[in-house]
Subunit: 155 residues, 2 copies
């Protein structure tokens, strides 16, 4: 089967974008990964409307990417804090990959806005492609992509 013959319906890239591909969703997750938890903090920092933020937080929570937990400040009504779940942290490589591309291709302006370092040794962190036999730093040209067993013919 060739790629063009496959159905895109169960493509994991497409399905994942169906969950987090809406504008703002990944930026909310970016902030949540950096410790932002409260509605007003997300809203002011990212700069989006209350209605859109509410909608995206609801969707990210429904998808199990964020978890809402109530908190109450003295004299205020109960509100939710949002924390990244394990499932949400599994999207961290998507954010790092977007970050790396921006740093490489969108100029000095955006390089080193956020510094990622290995906690234990202090060395800078990056994403690399690795194969199961331990070869590291593979380029796309060294990787062969073929339809796998779950590929279906498109109708």
């Amino acid at each position: 089967m060739e790629w063009l013959e496959t159905s895109t319906e169960n493509c994991p890239v497409q399905l994942t974008l169906g969950v987090v591909g809406e504008k703002w969703s990944l930026l909310i997750l970016r902030d949540a990964c950096n410790g932002v938890r409260r509605f007003d903090d997300f809203r002011r920092h990212i700069g989006l409307s209350e209605a859109v933020l509410s909608d995206r937080l609801r969707k990210l929570t429904a998808a199990g990417i964020l978890r809402a937990t109530p908190y109450r400040q003295p004299g205020s009504r109960s509100r939710n804090e949002y924390r990244v779940t394990r499932k949400g942290w599994d999207l961290w490589p998507v954010l790092v990959a977007l970050k790396q591309w921006g740093e490489t291709h969108l100029g000095d302006e955006s390089a080193s806005v956020l510094d990622l370092r290995h906690e234990r040794c202090g060395a800078p962190v990056s994403l690399v492609a690795q194969c199961g036999a331990g070869h590291i730093g593979l380029t796309p040209g060294e990787v062969v992509a073929t339809p796998g067993p779950a590929a279906r013919l498109r109708s």
Copy 2:
């Protein structure tokens, strides 16, 4: 400086999403990375309108992610083929990261739709976080994120 105090204006994640974050753009790139080159092939395989496809191809080409080169079939007018540039291939980790999350979290349906293998040894390929000192397979919990030298205070 704390993350919440930083301006998001030069955040590389945000700037990159400004280039490829529109719906369909990453799916067009996915197809292009899998060898799709022609307008009608993109349109039929991805299932989007001519107007949207034209617009997204124009933007991806303007951003230097795809390169248009003319071709002509006998009896037809000249048309463009679209190929992934080096800059475009640098977005490949974004696609692989989205793929990995979908395969892990969106069920058996989408696992192994596309099989990535190291050409030389045949072992399956995945993305991992690595530090400059050679520690491999870092989890987000082992990585410290702090505003870097390019971080600016938000106004």
